[in-house]
């Protein structure tokens, strides 16, 4: 590890995870869980959240065994050089693709709700340029940016969510506990994918200055994300009922569009919320983009990741414009999650952890 690299605190890592995870996934989450489990979706979110905590802790303990190394380096010790290059490449491609498709979703949503006449290409390219402006910097600067942006993101979000609560129909939430274990097992992985973004832990743990706090921070942070997901999907479900929620493409946006604040100066919240939502997506894609370029620079052993971030722009742009329409986009994203996502989020950490235990490699820490 480069000792000159600037360090971040565990708190900053936690905030980074929050702003990274919450992004595009939250738009479709109410629909996804309702499709799988109907009114019992909330249960699925809680189980999914618990599972994510376990997975995050596995990645964390891997990081603690090799305190100075990212996955690129420690996988080399565990599975050998060729396989570690494979893992690295899979991660880079995965991050790049997720980032690119997220940019596309962002562009589609923005075009639909805020800028109907602007070509999507303009929206995407301006967004990517702004992202590059952030990811050209080092991790420390990015972490500071997230610290400041998180203050601006969540206050308006919750204000907007609560603005519509007075006209909810809570009977829509019933019935509960109709779920069979089979449905849970079948659907929980899809909920886990809506938490995707936490796997950037593979890279950032070596740069945390107070490693003993990571475990606690991760548990708290993922619980917070779970609660935010829970509140959001419950409110949306209560607002529309399960049948309508299933039919909506982006139920959260539809909910926000439906809010009318009586007596307030602002008539439609949708414009404001879209503006705030840009921040959510910005942080998500920035982290993925940064991870991608950062890993690439480590894989090729070039310390400067700035060059990669510029080279990646046309690539991400082209990939983002590949899908023909929104269903195609989501189909590709689903394929990516189910096949690559499972490998990245579930299989790789578990296998690496088992290997590390069996081969007795890495430093034993009491953290």
């Amino acid at each position: 590890m480069n000792s000159n690299e600037e360090k971040i605190s565990a708190l900053q890592l936690g905030l980074l995870i929050i702003v990274t995870v919450i992004g595009v996934g939250i738009l479709t989450l109410p629909r996804t869980v309702t499709e799988i489990a109907d009114t019992d979706g909330w249960l699925l979110i809680i189980i999914g959240g618990a599972l994510v905590i376990v997975l995050a802790l596995i990645i964390n303990s891997l990081g603690n065994m090799f305190p100075d190394k990212t996955i690129i380096e420690y996988s080399q010790e565990l599975v050998g050089r060729p396989l570690s290059y494979l893992i690295g490449s899979i991660l880079i491609i995965y991050f790049t693709l997720i980032a690119a498709y997220s940019v596309r979703i962002f562009g589609e949503v923005l075009k639909m709700y805020l800028l109907p006449k602007t070509p999507i290409e303009i929206i995407i390219i301006t967004f990517l340029i702004t992202i590059i402006y952030l990811v050209r910097n080092n991790l420390e600067g990015i972490a500071r940016f997230y610290e400041i942006i998180i203050l601006i993101m969540f206050v308006p979000y919750f204000l907007a969510l609560s603005a519509g609560t007075w006209e909810l129909d809570y009977s829509n939430l019933l019935p509960v506990f109709q779920l069979s274990p089979k449905v849970i097992l079948g659907g929980v992985l899809q909920v886990v994918f809506s938490f995707s973004g936490f796997e950037v832990l593979y890279l950032f743990i070596p740069f945390v200055s107070d490693k003993q706090n990571i475990k606690k921070t991760l548990i708290i942070v993922i619980s917070i994300i779970t609660i935010i997901y829970l509140i959001t999907s419950l409110i949306v479900l209560a607002s529309f009922g399960s049948r309508q929620t299933k039919a909506l493409l982006w139920p959260l946006m539809a909910y926000i569009k439906s809010i009318e604040v009586p007596g307030a100066f602002i008539e439609q919240l949708e414009g404001i919320i879209m503006t705030i939502w840009v921040l959510f997506i910005f942080t998500t894609i920035s982290t993925l983009y940064f991870s991608s370029t950062f890993m690439a620079s480590r894989l090729i052993k070039v310390r400067e990741h700035k060059i990669f971030s510029t080279f990646l722009l046309p690539l991400v742009y082209i990939i983002a414009l590949q899908p023909e329409n929104v269903p195609d986009l989501y189909w590709r994203l689903d394929i990516l999650s189910i096949y690559v996502g499972t490998i990245v989020i579930v299989i790789i950490p578990i296998i690496l952890l088992i290997l590390a235990k069996v081969l007795k490699k890495g430093v034993k820490t009491n953290v």
């Binding site: 800028l115 610290e147 439609q268 414009g271 404001i272």
Partner: protein, 559 residues
Amino acid sequence: MRVIKKNKDSKDKNFVPVLRELDKNIEFLEDIFQDCDDIVSREFTVGVNQNHRMYISYVDVMTNEDMIQQHVLRPLLLEARLISPDPGDIKKKLFELVLKGTLSASDIEVKDNLDEAVLAILSGDTILLIDGVTEFIVISTKGWPTRGLSEPPGESVIRGPRVGFVETFRYNTVLLRRSIKDPRLKIKNTQLGERTKTNMGIAYIDDIVNYKVLEELENRLETIHIDGIFESGQVEQLIEDDWLSLFPQIQNTERPDIVSAALLQGKVALIIDNTPTALIVPTTFNDFMQFPEDYYERWWIANLIRWIRLSALIISFTLPSIYIAVASYHPGIIPSNLAIFIAGTRETVPFPVFIEALIMEITFELLREAGVRLPNQLGSTIGIVGSLIIGQAAVEAGLVSPIMVIIVALTAIASFSIPSYNFTISFRILRFIAMVATGFLGLYGLILVVIATLVHLSVLKSFGVPYLAPIVSGRMTDWKDSIIKAPLPSIKERNSYTAWGDRKKLRDLRVDIRARTVDIEPKEDGTIDKGKNQPSHTQNLKKPRKIGNKDNDRGEKDE
């Protein structure tokens, strides 16, 4: 022949020895000061027998001539003649006699490098050369016409000291020393400017300062090789972290109380001769949003003012852009009545909203720029021209909508309510960038500019301190004095991002001031408890309100 070893690389090696022959020394100096008619020099003889030749030289009016008369010439010319010391001593010890016995000036210095004499003369000191001695005396006689202390016009306060720095370096250090009477307040002198040789003082408090910052500052100052420094702004531009940034990374002020408070926070101040503006490093975003009154007034007031300032900042940055976005891209956001009203007022306006806003903002900037340079009498003319011609006539002619005028006025007022002038300018520039972005992409363009601004601010550092400290990567205790202002008694520590070493700011002496009620009623038997050391005219005050007085606490238990 005089051998002058000159080495242009370093000042120290530029050594010119003082020779025994006075004439040769005089020749050297007069050669250097040829055609410098403001330099006065005089050769005279001293002693009972008028047999010791001496030579003084100084810059006319830059020195305190009274002092030269009273404490240099008079003792040498008159008193030295009255008391004739042992003749044997004179030859050997003339120099020491003059130095220790005759000169009555207090601040004198002995030097042997004639090259330094040149600088001493040019700095307002007087030099005294004695025949046959290979050293010379520098007498500090600095004294030139100065401006009196007055309140800095750009930083006036309602409550607070009404004194500002002046152009004289020493006065400024005096102002600091007067407010911090602590030997740990260090003021290190250096010089800057190859030709101007501007004096500079690096002020810091020894056991609080962050040594890394101090070291970094000294290193950066050493790298400066410029011909002249006339204002601290030049130094600022040469030592700031990121010269491409829109934002000032070094605070400047004319107020000694701001500098003193900054020193107590562990910052380093740079006081520069010939300018009343001092620099303070490291500087954060927070510093530009604060003003001494925040600390002098009670905390509720300070909080209110700080929030108003923050809103003013946001307004001056985004308001025209928001108007452009709402009026031309997203009229659905505001109530339909208002949207229709705005559209109605814009009926006759021939430009798109974006162009209209741009024209009005530029017009206002023109007005402001014109007003700054004009003398006060003409300033009102600008006001009339601005309000009548641009405001009223343009609206009546239908060229500009009245709402646009309101928006521009609001933006202007907001940008004036931020205490720091150079900081406001950053946001003035950003405002135009935001307007252009909004003109193309609506609210989305605005948020992209806001994001880019925040990214830049997050990455920016001033002497190693994050620009957005303490909001980012600081400790929560530092938040007590940021966007919010906690009550003064609760701020017990200095800011962790600036202060090292001694962190204690306020010692906890007034913990239970509220718990201790002051009973002013007389006792039941009519006697009045006088308490300790109580003057007779406050008899009905039962307990003296002495804060943290242990004697008083004991007195309470006795009751």
